[in-house]
Symmetry: C2
Subunit: 407 residues, 2 copies
């Protein structure tokens, strides 16, 4: 079983082909219509980049690694996030100003827009693609819309005991037309069953810990983990339990012990499971926490170059990429997961905001806001592969998200 | 942390919506062209069903759960398999007769076809979508084509020591323009690096065990496992090792001990990893083997209703679905993975050939060849959700495969 032989160029080869990793932009411009858009186009390799300053989206193609269009008029897109219809044709954009905008990636036009709250922080879409949910700060609560028409179907107020609406964070889709979310102001986690949208049933887990500020669903949809701003630890719910309950994990990991000033809240949706371990940003500390998902205990801490914001696994779990809050936000670090060591520090540009991996992981796209650039790296060579000019880019979202839970 | 409260219909609700899980077929027929096809259509919720008797494909939409068209002229489609371009527009169909056919899901037409071998058994596509590889029985070897034009780029002959070509099985894509495959006649596993397609470099691991007959890549691309027909055990390669080698696992699991007659070879590409465990069909035995992926030792055996053919995990890993060879091929069994028990036995129709899950797992599509039906089940309620008439359906393939390794 141990003999290995190498044949250099052992095969009969027949024709040359440039393998640049991305097709030439020209290939994507064939068969265009009067509007300049292709008459027919698959949507599996499309994506959008948020231009926060201009309230605009840049459309991108991840095969050609190029921008292919732009749309504006989406309002305040600071902290905006995006989900996609399951046919990967439409993007639903949740703006900070409470705007929910539906954008057609094929016509590159806005097809619907509602102002659904005063201050919003993201959304989710159910597996069947019929319901879009938005989580809101002002007023608090969750609103649920028809995905096709953006008609409001249900308003889940998320009331605290004093009758005020709580700010909602950490919204994610669950199977069977359910959504899960956390209430910052009431220390609770809710599961809303929207199977009968005329009468949603809401289960509330109370006393989960102080001030859940964001949350994530593991890629298999089993575990929901809420970060706690008000105390040292996190809340964990095992959704495969017949009667899910919340329990505390990682109590005393250091959040409250000697907190550094927190320059930017980490984004927990970026929390990452790779193999047996979850990789979490330690709030206010220059560390990534490694948690064993069998025991939900801390397995290691990896020192990094700043306060982590996004901690994201390459789809195969072999690497974890980390970006940082100000003042260290010109850097990216790459963690090798088998050795749990930082193996590379990159400086892709100024003010790194977000990262998005190609679905099979060969590339990562990195938004460098103050460089007006999106840099595309080869994740195997760690070399720059391409770059795209985008004005003040922030979030990057690819259509392949449509096929995954919790994104 | 333990209090749980239920609010029946606690929310203000605003409008009714039928949540059938699939939109009505009418929704998909709007905006049609003269050909009856939609003028613009996303491709994230499309798929194809192999009609083996007629050499045809039925096109399906997984949102409406309907068939939306048909194309024929694809030759002998017994044992056919399909990969998709990364834009999810094109299907590459590998026929048993050696035909490789490129089909446009938007125009529902064949756009390219080559007879590339006398007897072929499947294929793969690289992450960048530029290279399509076909594995062949007669003559043996692997051929590599340009994905856009189907131009032959390389012919990897896979020679045995006696100079004859070996039959090739278990082909899968690896990162960095590499492919991995097994040679049935030479007891070896090859990794072909096609970064420079004019001079592919082939690494061969020899003496891996007798007669590898199929193989699978774990979803993270780390482990390649070849089933051995000629002996009691399997060959495992850890592709994250700096110098990958093959080692034997599960020696003596029973294949060679008291073999039952084997009515149909299991399909190893269906092998499944769910959480920490892999679920494998035991050749010739009425058992599913459960293997701990940390130690690669047998952890359990689950008795099932027949000789397993496909053993497939729902995308969240909570369930494993199993179909069987003749004479038990009118049944499907569902394994609950936390308890590792069979929790349901279904009889969807006659001669169950294949299963395919919706990408987020809410539905499974099941081809019942001798009933001329594809049945769609809700995987949570285990009830039939919809059914589609298709003539002698076999393989079912959804475009979301484009975004995953090893499929």
């Amino acid at each position: 079983m141990k003999r290995r032989t190498w044949f250099g160029a052992a095969a009969a080869t027949l024709a040359p082909l440039a393998l640049g990793g991305c097709a030439s932009p020209a290939e994507n411009s064939r068969q265009t219509t009067a509007t300049g858009l292709p008459a027919l186009m698959g949507t599996g390799d499309l994506g959008v980049i948020i231009e926060r300053a201009d309230g605009a989206l840049t459309f991108v193609n991840t095969s050609s690694c190029t921008s292919i269009g732009r749309v504006n008029g989406l309002g305040d897109l600071s902290h905006a996030s995006v989900v996609f219809s399951r046919d990967e044709r439409y993007a639903y954009v949740f703006g900070r100003d409470g705007g929910l905008t539906k954008v057609d990636l094929l016509t590159q036009a806005i097809t619907g827009r509602v102002m659904q709250a005063g201050n919003s922080i993201g959304g989710a879409i159910n597996a069947d693609g019929t319901l879009v949910a938005a989580q809101n700060y002002t007023p608090g609560g969750v609103k649920i819309f028809r995905a096709d028409s953006l008609e409001l179907l249900a308003d889940l107020p998320a009331l605290a005991k004093d009758g005020k609406r709580s700010r909602v964070v950490g919204l994610a889709d669950l199977p069977q037309n359910r959504f899960i979310y956390s209430l910052f102001d009431t220390d609770s986690i809710c599961i809303a069953d929207c199977s009968d949208i005329s009468a949603p049933r809401i289960q509330t887990l109370e006393g989960i810990g102080r001030q859940p500020y964001d949350a994530m669903l593991t890629p298999n949809g089993r575990h929901y983990i809420a970060g706690l701003f008000g105390e040292d630890g996190l809340a964990l719910v095992d959704l495969w339990d017949e009667k899910p309950t919340a329990r505390r994990i990682l109590s005393g990991y250091g959040r409250g012990e000697k907190p550094l000033p927190v320059y930017k809240m980490p984004h927990l949706r970026g929390w990452t499971v790779a193999g047996q371990y979850a990789y979490l940003p330690a709030i206010g500390r220059h560390e990534v926490l490694v948690v064993d998902t069998h025991t939900w205990r801390e397995a290691a801490r990896i020192p990094v170059a700043g306060q982590p914001v996004f901690v994201m696994a390459r789809p195969d779990g072999r690497q974890v990429w980390v970006n940082f809050s100000v003042p260290d936000y010109d850097r990216i670090q790459v963690i090798d997961t088998p050795s749990q060591r930082v193996v590379a520090t990159l400086q892709p540009g100024k003010a790194v905001m977000h990262m998005e991996f190609a679905p099979r992981g060969q590339h990562v796209w990195i938004s460098c806001r103050d460089s007006d650039q999106v840099k595309i790296y080869d994740t195997h060579t760690l070399r720059e592969h391409a770059s795209i000019s985008v004005k003040a880019p922030s979030g990057i979202f690819f259509t392949s998200r449509a096929q995954r839970m919790g994104l």
